[in-house]
Amino acid sequence: MDFTLSKEHEMARSLFREFAEKEVKPLAIEVDETEEFPRETVAKMAKAGFMGIPIPKEYGGQGCDVLTYAMCVEELAKVCGTTAVIVSAHTSLCCDPILTYGTEEQKQKYLPDLASGKKIGAFGLTEPGAGTDAQGQQTKAVLEGDEWVLNGSKIFITNGKEADVYVIFAITGMIEKRGRMTKEISAFIVEKGTPGFSFGTKEKKMGIRGSSTYELIFTDCRIPKENMLGQQGKGFGIAMHTLDGGRIGIAAQALGIGEGALERTIAYVQERKQFGRAIGAFQNTQFQLADMATKAQAAQYMVYKAACTKDQYTKDHKTSYNVEAAMAKLYAAEMAMEVTTKAVQLHGGYGYTREYEVERMMRDAKITEIYEGTSEVQRMVISANLLK
């Protein structure tokens, strides 16, 4: 067992850190305040190749491993949770299922533009009545001639209005399973601008406020038959497998948010004086910092382990990574919430103001316990593996 990163990974980290400090950090407060999607930053990330890190070169990506991708999301999240999730949702939830389940034609058609960042990707599974209960889908797709006709809506879609390519799930029929009729779910690739595909309300969120979270509405939206992703009826499995990978991205985002809050707190407690001493000189502060740093380190190991396990899957198409991903997301998200809360506490009254970024980080952290499977879902995944 070797915990040292390769020189390549170290250099990649220094690249991501430099980019985050120069290009992302200066805009983080503004992105949060204005709730504007940081288009210019995304364009810069596209130019630097950040929108296609784990996509093979043959499809226009960078051909790097999942660990490199996770480190990118981590470094971005240290300074801006919004920017991190834009990359994560695009890469893990749109590029990855097309790469894994797409036909060669679909890969050739969609991946080069997605991997180069010319186009942005999104993923639509959640509906008003289908959150953790993803089987509760209502959106339907009916085959008419050479087209699937979509009707229904999706909510809480990250990159919602800014994306160009969407992986959408819909019911394509009813099938008998163990004597019961259940919904047959299939996956589709839907392009922005398709007639009948429109946007509903924009969510006003607690955190990650620049990430363009929208409702997607499909009204007799006709898409070509060949835009079905994977086999008919395999949509639920595709969604679950995609989320297993997505969780590594969100775990990396949570990790970065926690680390970012810790870095700021370490700086603050050495400057802030009370009772004639820097508050970092008090043992309470020191012990709090020790706990925060220990948990952040533990989360980092878990996130990197999950990323490396997915890399193994990429090589052998056998290795399972869902438990590692669930554990990493569960732990990193709860670490992020705890560390950012402590960071605000150690900043005192100033920490509660928008002037100090730990306030935003605490708001950004909360979503990591909810989206791409709540912490409760992660516990279900982990325990199901223990009791199988």
Partner: protein, 260 residues
């Protein structure tokens, strides 16, 4: 078109400067970066690659560790990296360094050589022009803009209060300013490719037409008496006044100190 770019790995002065007990720089203890002027020179070369399909070869002289700066250049898009490293080349001043680099470049085909104006550790701005002298080619220093026209380059050379537009036939050498451009970032895939690429390593024996008397510490006419970190200026004084009051305040201070 073939472009050779000379780069130097320099201490990242943001992390503070550290010295050995004998007063020389403790390079091993400091974080390193690609010298900013050199990075702009590399970016200029990479733009020529984007525009004209130029082949970009990056050369550095230094300790074996300087290989890192070549990997960075490759990760940005350079085609080849050459590391010139040898114990006998150690302790070189600008004269010995330019002799060494010229000796290496004599092995290469080139239309254009680009160096940074100066390195942030020595700040001499001598190596680039010296290389051109050794190679017998024209030099245009302090480039803030570079254009290619046929077999010539047209360069805007920065001056205190103006710029000069100069045209030179290639092959020639240009020294670049950090202000020349905004260097691109490495790409993640480029980094992994850069570590797979082979870096050519040359020693003393590979240098062409250079006399031993011009190399290393022995070949360096410069003797460094003492090196020191920049002396930090005082904290200064902060006052919060409106514009008119500020002007009066500053004028009084300047008179008080007999500046005006």
């Amino acid at each position: 078109m073939k472009v050779v770019v000379c780069v130097k790995q320099v201490p990242d002065t943001k992390g503070g400067v550290k010295f050995n007990p004998d007063g020389t720089l403790d390079r091993a203890a400091m974080l390193t970066i690609m010298n900013p002027d050199d990075k702009a020179g590399l970016e200029a070369a990479l733009r020529l690659k984007d525009q004209y399909g130029a082949e970009v070869t990056v050369v550095t002289m230094g300790l074996p560790k300087a290989e890192e700066v070549l990997r960075e250049a490759l990760a940005m898009g350079a085609d080849k990296g050459i590391l010139v490293t040898d114990r006998v080349l150690g302790g070189a001043d600008t004269w010995a360094t330019s002799q060494t680099l010229a000796g290496a470049i004599r092995n290469l085909e080139y239309d254009l050589i680009i160096t940074g104006r100066q390195a942030i550790d020595g700040d001499t701005a001598q190596v680039g022009p010296q290389i051109s002298e050794h190679l017998g080619i024209p030099v245009i220093s302090y480039a803030q803009n570079i254009k290619i026209e046929g077999d010539s380059v047209i360069v805007e050379r920065q001056y205190d209060d103006r710029y000069h537009v100069l045209k030179a036939k290639m092959p020639c050498l240009i020294t670049a300013l950090a202000e020349l451009n905004e260097p691109r970032y490495m790409t993640p895939g480029g980094i992994f490719d850069a570590y797979k690429a082979e870096i050519t390593t040359w020693g003393r024996a590979d240098l062409k037409d250079v006399d031993d008397s011009n190399l290393g510490l022995k070949g360096s006419p410069t003797q460094i008496a003492r090196a020191s970190d920049k002396v930090r200026k005082g904290q200064g004084e902060k006052v919060n006044l409106d514009a008119a009051e500020s002007v009066d305040y500053i004028m009084n201070k300047l008179q008080e100190k007999h500046v005006i």
